[in-house]
């Protein structure tokens, strides 16, 4: 059993412009949600609020486990991972970048090695393991960002435009990784995208943002 998320009357305004207006919804375990909308519709803001990286101006974001509301502390934050639209590579090698989240969680060296090597193979990044992460191509940096998140095996995964900068071959690869991950982990996956057609086959619910309102399609 995993966590569930409930947002209630969430509002967010930037420079007097309403980005999110009274958004309420429940996100349940073992489901994939697609948030679709044009640029500037508030997808990233919604994802960041859901991922507890930003606070709403008004309203509530709550995480539940077995009907108990979870406290917003480091334990909860470590069950959630958000992959940005523009992935930032850290100083260091690809291997060091991917192992970052595991290291700060004090995983053993052996466990880190196992998990990172698996992920490197999965994302076809094995050959690049010892390369400087900052020198990767934009498509590879995108894969690095996803690999950094998947290696942590989060219970809730937010993906902001995960297919940006990827070619056809890598698009298929990422799609398969997401499908497999959901199947094996029963987690919540929320994907913000401009490209509805690519994900609609494997998403359980499709939502859209229209003038700040969250609407189920």
């Amino acid at each position: 059993m995993g966590v569930n998320i409930q947002i209630c009357n969430v509002k967010k305004t930037y420079k007097n412009k309403i980005i999110l207006d009274d958004c309420s919804y429940s996100f349940h375990e073992n489901k994939t949600y697609l948030i679709y909308g044009p640029n500037g519709s508030g997808k990233t803001t919604l994802l960041r609020i859901l991922a507890l990286l930003e606070k709403p101006d008004d309203g509530d974001v709550a995480y539940f486990f077995k009907n108990f509301r979870l406290k917003k502390n480091l334990d909860l934050y470590r069950r959630i991972t958000y992959v940005q639209t523009n992935v930032v590579a850290f100083n260091g090698t690809v291997y060091e970048n991917i192992s970052y989240g595991l290291k700060i969680r004090n995983f053993s060296k052996k466990e880190i090695e196992n998990r990172v090597n698996n992920i490197l193979h999965l994302f076809n990044l094995y050959e690049k393991a010892n390369e400087d992460a900052k020198l990767l191509s934009s498509g590879e940096i995108r894969k690095l960002g996803l690999a950094r998140a998947f290696v942590l095996q989060p219970e809730v995964l937010f993906l902001d435009e995960p297919t940006n900068n990827l070619d056809e071959k890598n698009l298929e690869l990422i799609k398969n990784i997401i499908i497999e991950y959901k199947k094996n982990n029963g987690c919540i996956i929320v994907i913000a995208t401009l490209d509805i057609s690519f994900f609609e086959n494997f998403s359980d619910e499709i939502l859209t943002l229209k003038e700040g309102k969250l609407i189920k399609l």
Binding site: R48, A51, L53, Y77, R78, T81, Q84, N86, F90, I104
Partner: protein, 231 residues
């Protein structure tokens, strides 16, 4: 010209012989500046990361003020500290004036703006999204601080070197609050000034050469650092 060459020869002899007075002054200078620098790093780095991490009212004003302090004349810092630490000043009861501690305080205030300003400008060059990346991968505040430190390590080293360069060669504040007391608060710069007054150019030159060597080593280190950064 002959006089200069002879004095230089004698000065080098003094350095090679490791003259007791000369060595004492050099070591005291390094000790005082080292302690002041370490305190500046301990105070300055967390403060800089706080400045970068948090958005708050007056943040820009603080940054402008710190940048202003980069160029403040050292005698002005000395004067203010003298007024504060003198017997009739608010901290006069501490009895710090004319002690090595007073010099440490002065050098701390002189190096702190360098640590903060140079580190902050390195942090500002980072993509601000890096903070979101650390947070979402589960880093706590200390881990974010250490990760950022790794990210801007060259900038931090540049800041430390610049801060050290500033205080090791400084005379104004050290003279005012230290008093240039032999075997107690006499550092390289104040000793040079005194020895010139006394007409003892040999010790002054020996100390000058050491000061020059230290500044050269610091700059050499900075050069290789920047070369590495560009790679």
């Amino acid at each position: 010209m002959e006089f200069i060459i002879d004095s230089l020869k004698e000065a080098i002899k003094l350095i090679v012989k490791l003259d007791r007075e000369f060595l004492e002054i050099v070591l005291l200078s390094l000790k005082i500046s080292g302690v002041a620098l370490i305190i500046s790093i301990i105070v300055g780095l967390p403060f800089t990361f706080f400045l970068y991490y948090k958005d708050f009212f007056l943040k820009r004003v603080i940054i402008i003020l710190i940048n202003t302090f980069l160029g403040i004349p050292t005698v002005v810092v000395g004067l203010f500290l003298f007024l504060i630490l003198s017997r009739s000043g608010p901290l006069g009861f501490l009895g710090l004036l004319y002690t090595p501690y007073a010099i440490i305080v002065a050098q701390f205030f002189l190096s702190l703006p360098y640590i903060i300003s140079i580190t902050f400008s390195s942090l500002e060059k980072l993509d601000k999204e890096i903070l979101i990346a650390y947070k979402t991968l589960g880093a706590n505040t200390l881990q974010i601080f250490l990760s950022l430190l790794k990210e801007v390590r060259y900038g931090v080293l540049t800041a430390i070197c610049s801060g050290f360069g500033r205080i090791i060669s400084e005379i104004g504040a050290v003279l005012i609050v230290g008093g240039n007391i032999a075997h107690y608060t006499r550092v390289m710069t104040t000793a040079i000034a005194l020895e010139i007054d006394k007409g003892n150019f040999i010790l002054a030159l020996a100390l000058g050469l050491i000061l020059l060597a230290i500044t050269f080593v610091v700059n050499l280190f900075l050069y290789f650092l920047h070369k590495n950064m560009k790679k």
